[in-house]
C-alpha cells in the first residue's frame, strides 16, 4: 500500500483544561474515504480544524506527504493541497455561485498581485471554476447569488469551492448536514465520485451515508479514538455499539 | 537625574496613570461588555472638567461641584444611551464610530457656545491645598496624593462590584452572552444603561478631579480619548486589570519622557518627542501581542 497522504501522530488540542482532541493518530490514503463519527462534542470538527490549520494543536504532529505541517497557517496548508469544507456553510454570500468558485480557483495562481488585467479574463481560472461546479452539479445555477441558494445547494457550493482548489486531500465536515433525503442521496453519489484521486476525511452523523461510503471508519468519543478500522468490524464491535451506535437513533 | 526628581516623576507618573485608568476603565468596560466603541467618551471627561469649573464658581466649593457634576453627567449619559447609543448595539462598529464622532462635534460646539474657548483654571479645594514633605528638601502636593488615593479607592470599588456582587455577575454574563442573560429574565437594556452610566460617571469624575491640576481647555476631551485608546489597546479590550497596568505604564513613560534627554545620532528624541513615546510603546506591544497584554486571543 502506498504511503498515507496525511497522517497524524498523537495529535492533541487543549482548550483550557479540556482536551478536545486527545492523542489521535490516524492515517488517510488516496482513493479512500475515511469517515470519522462520534457523538456531539467528540472532537470531530476540532480534528478537521487542526488538520486544515484553522486551529493550532497543543501537541502532536501532522504529516502531509511526510512533511510536518503542524503549526503552519491555514493558507499555507491549503496551498500544500489540503481542502476543507465547513460544517457551518462558509461561502461568500453576496457573490454569485460562479464567483465563489472562481475566487477559490484563483487561489491556485502563483500570485494574485495583478492589478490591471480583469480577473474574468483569466480563462484557466474560470474553466477550473466551471469544472468544479459541474462536478457537484451546480453549473446551471452559476449566475445566481449564493445567498439565494437552497441549503442543499449551498452545501454543494461548499464542496465545489473546495474542489476548485484542486486539493489532494478533502476534509469534509458534515457535508450532509440539514439535507433532505433526495439531496442527501445526490450528495452521497457526489462524495463517492470524489474518492478518485483524492484522500477523503468525512465527518458525518448520517449513518446510512457513512456505511455506504466509508472504506475506513474511526469512532471518536470525548476527543479520543475509541476504535478505528474496517467499517463492518467496527459496526459489530460491542464497545462502539454501547458508546455510540446504540444511541444513534437519537443523535442529530 | 537625582533621587528627588526621580521620586517626583514616579509619583506624577502614577498619579497620571491612575487618572487615565479611571477614564480608560469606563471605555474598556463599555467596549468589552456592550461592544460599543464610544468616541465621545473623552467628551464626558471634558464635560466633567467644565462642570467642575462652572459649578465650583456657582457653589463656591469644588466638593459641591463634584457632587452635582457627577449627577448631571450621569443624567446626560443616561439620556444619550436611551436616545442614541441603544440604537447602535446591532450596528457595525463603523456606524458607532461615526455616530459618536458626530456627538464629539456637537459636544465641542456646545462647549464653545456655553463656555467659550478660553482656558480656565479651577482652584484646589482649601482643605487639600497643602504639601506634604517627603524628604528633607522635597514636598509633594497633597491634592495629587488625594487624587491617586481616590482613583485607587474607585478601582477597588469597581473590582468588588464586578467580581463580588450580583450586579457584577450579570454584567460579566451580559458581556459573553446577551441573549442568554435576556432569557433569564434580566433586563439587558437596563443593565447596559447602567454600565454606560457607570462609564460616563467615571470619565466625568476623572475630569472633575483633574481640573485643578490639568486645567480646563478645549480639546482636552479628544486628547485624553486617544491616550485612553492606547491604554485599551495595550491592556486588552474588556480587561480592567489590563487597563490598570497599561495606564500606570503609560503614566510613567509619559512622565519620565518629559524629563529625560535622549539623543541618538545627533537627533534629540527626548524630551522633544516625549508625546510620541506612548505610541512607540503601543507599537511594541502590537508587534508582540496584537490582542493586548490581557486581551483575548483571536
Amino acid at each position: 500500500m502506498a504511503d498515507a497522504v496525511l497522517r497524524t501522530e498523537r495529535l492533541t488540542k487543549h482548550f483550557g483544561g479540556l482536551a478536545a482532541v486527545n492523542d489521535v493518530s490516524l492515517e488517510f490514503f488516496t482513493d479512500q474515504i475515511h469517515a470519522v463519527i462520534g457523538p456531539n462534542g467528540a472532537g470531530k470538527t476540532t480534528l478537521a480544524s487542526l488538520l486544515s490549520g484553522d486551529l493550532t494543536c497543543t501537541s502532536g504532529r501532522i504529516f502531509l506527504d511526510g512533511e510536518d505541517i503542524a503549526g503552519l497557517s491555514a493558507d499555507r496548508i491549503s496551498q500544500r493541497g489540503v481542502g476543507r469544507s465547513y460544517q457551518k456553510t462558509n461561502i461568500f454570500l453576496p457573490f454569485t455561485v460562479f464567483e465563489n468558485c472562481r475566487l477559490a480557483a484563483q487561489s491556485r495562481l502563483p500570485s494574485s498581485m495583478r492589478f490591471t488585467r480583469p480577473a474574468l479574463r483569466y480563462d484557466n481560472v474560470s474553466q477550473q471554476a466551471l469544472r468544479a461546479l459541474e462536478e457537484v452539479g451546480l453549473e446551471h445555477r452559476a449566475q445566481v447569488t449564493a445567498a439565494t441558494l437552497s441549503h442543499g445547494e449551498q452545501r454543494q457550493l461548499e464542496i465545489a469551492m473546495t474542489l476548485a482548489t484542486r486539493p489532494r486531500i478533502l476534509l469534509l465536515d458534515e457535508p450532509l448536514a440539514g439535507m433532505g433525503s433526495e439531496e442527501s442521496a445526490r450528495m452521497v453519489e457526489l462524495l463517492r465520485s470524489l474518492k478518485q484521486a483524492h484522500a477523503v476525511l468525512l465527518v458525518e452523523h448520517d449513518m446510512d451515508a457513512v456505511f455506504a461510503l466509508a472504506d475506513r471508519l474511526t469512532v471518536m468519543v470525548n476527543g479520543s479514538v475509541l476504535e478505528s478500522g474496517f467499517p463492518e468490524l467496527i459496526r459489530a464491535s460491542a464497545a462502539v455499539q454501547e458508546a455510540y451506535l446504540g444511541t444513534e437513533e437519537g443523535a442529530a | 537625574m537625582d533621587a528627588n526628581t526621580f521620586l517626583i516623576q514616579v509619583l506624577n507618573g502614577i498619579q497620571y496613570g491612575l487618572l487615565l485608568f479611571l477614564v480608560a476603565s469606563g471605555l474598556t468596560l463599555i467596549l468589552g461588555i456592550m461592544g460599543i466603541i464610544n468616541l465621545a467618551h473623552g467628551s464626558f471627561y471634558m464635560v466633567g472638567a467644565y462642570l467642575a469649573f462652572s459649578l465650583s464658581q456657582h457653589f463656591g466649593s469644588l466638593w459641591l461641584a463634584m457632587a452635582g457634576g457627577v449627577v448631571l453627567a450621569v443624567a446626560i449619559g443616561l439620556l444619550l444611551e436611551w436616545l442614541l447609543i441603544s440604537r447602535l448595539y446591532h450596528r457595525d462598529h463603523l456606524y458607532q464610530v461615526l455616530l459618536t464622532y458626530g456627538l464629539i462635534l456637537m459636544f465641542e460646539e456646545l462647549r464653545s457656545v456655553v463656555f467659550g474657548d478660553d482656558v480656565h483654571g479651577v482652584a484646589v479645594p482649601a482643605l487639600l491645598q497643602t504639601s506634604i514633605p517627603l524628604t528633607e528638601t522635597l514636598s509633594y502636593p497633597v491634592y495629587r496624593l488625594w487624587m491617586s488615593a481616590v482613583c485607587i479607592a474607585l478601582a477597588i470599588g469597581m473590582y468588588l462590584l464586578i467580581q463580588k456582587t450580583r450586579l457584577g455577575m450579570m454584567i460579566r454574563a451580559g458581556s459573553t452572552n446577551r441573549e442568554m442573560v435576556q432569557s433569564l429574565g434580566i433586563n439587558i437594556d437596563l443593565l447596559y444603561r447602567l454600565v454606560f452610566a457607570l462609564g460616563v460617571a467615571l470619565a466625568a469624575f476623572a475630569g472633575m478631579i483633574a481640573a485643578p491640576v490639568a486645567s480646563v481647555f478645549p480639546g482636552m476631551g479628544n486628547q485624553v480619548l486617544i491616550v485612553c485608546f492606547v491604554v485599551v489597546v495595550i491592556g486588552g479590550i474588556g480587561s480592567v486589570k489590563g487597563a490598570m497596568l497599561a495606564a500606570i505604564l503609560i503614566g510613567l513613560v509619559d512622565s519620565f519622557g518629559k524629563v529625560l534627554t535622549l539623543e541618538v545620532g545627533g537627533v534629540r528624541f527626548l524630551p522633544e518627542l516625549s508625546g510620541m513615546m506612548i505610541y512607540v510603546l503601543m507599537a511594541v506591544v502590537l508587534l508582540a501581542r496584537p490582542e493586548g497584554l490581557f486581551g483575548k486571543r483571536g
Binding site: D75, R84, E99, R102, R108, F115 | I104, I237, P290
Partner: protein, 333 residues
Amino acid sequence: MRKVRVATIVLLGCLLALALLPLVAEKYYIQLFTKMMLMAIFAMSLDLLVGYTGLVSLGHAAFFGLAGYTLAFAAPQYEAANLWLSLPLAMAGSGLLALVIGALVLRTSGIYFIMVTLAFAQMVFFVFHDTKIGGGADGIYVYAKPVATIAGWEPFTLENHTHFYFVVLVLLVLVYAMLRMLLASLFGRVIVGIRVNEQRMRSLGYRTFRYKLVCFVIAGALAGMAGYFAAAQFGFVSPDTLGWHQSGGVLMMVILGGMGTLNGAILGAFAMMLLELGFQGLPVVGGVNIGKHWQLLMGGFIVCAVLLLPHGLLGLGRLASGWRRRPGGAADG
C-alpha cells in the same frame, strides 16, 4: 445591465457638467469645485479601504497631510517646486508611511484596528505639532504653486485657477478609472473577498495580510495625491491637516455617500462640502450666530444620517427606484 447603463449615463452627465463648469462659473466656484474634487479623490482612496476591504481607518488623514508637508519641504524657500518631481515624491512618502503604519496596524482587526489607526495618526500629528520640523503648531506655507515645467515646456500653470481645476478634474477621472480597473483585477477580487469572509479566504490559500497591506499602501498614496494638491491650492499646511477631524470628516464622506461603491465616495465628498458651506452660511438668528457654530449642525446631521440612512445617500436613491442594494464587489459573471 440596465442599472449599469443608467449609472454610466449619470456619471458621464456629471463629468460633462464638471468639464463645462469653468465656462460659466466665477473664480470662487471654480476653486470651490476644485477643492471638492480633491476631497472626492481623498474619499475614494478611503473607500478602497473601508468599503471594499472592510478596513475602517480613523487615521487616513495622516497620509493626506504628510503629502502637503512634503510639498512644502520640496519647495525651495519662496520658490516653486517642480510638479513632476515633487508629486511622485509626495505620493511615495505617503505610501511609505502607509507601509510602515500598515505593517503594524494590520496585525489587529475589528475595534482594535480602528483605535490603532487613530492612535498612529495622532502620533504623526504630534511629530508635526510638537517639533520644529514643519513649523510646529503654526504650520508652514506653500508660497508658490508647483510648476509643471518639463524640458523647458510648460503645458499648464497651476497659478491659473482654471488650469488647476482641469488638472484636478483629469486626476479625478484617472483615479476613478484606475480604481475601477483595480477592483476588477485579480487583486481587487481578493480584496473584496477579504471583506466578505477573510477567514475563508485564508483557508482557500490566500495570504490575506499581504493583500491588505498593499491595499493600505495604495490608499495611502492616493490620499497623498489629494493632500498634495490640497496644500498647493490652499497654500498652507498645518498639523490639523493630518488631524483626526480631517480623518473623521473624510470617513463621514465615504459613509454618507454610500460606501463600497466609489460613486458614493464622490457623492459624499460633494455633499458634505456643500453641507458644510450651507451650515456656515446660515444667518444670525435671535442674536446667535448659527453659522459660526456650524459644527453643531454638522454633528447633529451626522448623528441623524447614521440613524436614518443605513446605506448612505446612494442607498436612498436605490430605495427610491426599487433597486436592491449590492455591496461593493458583487461580481456579475
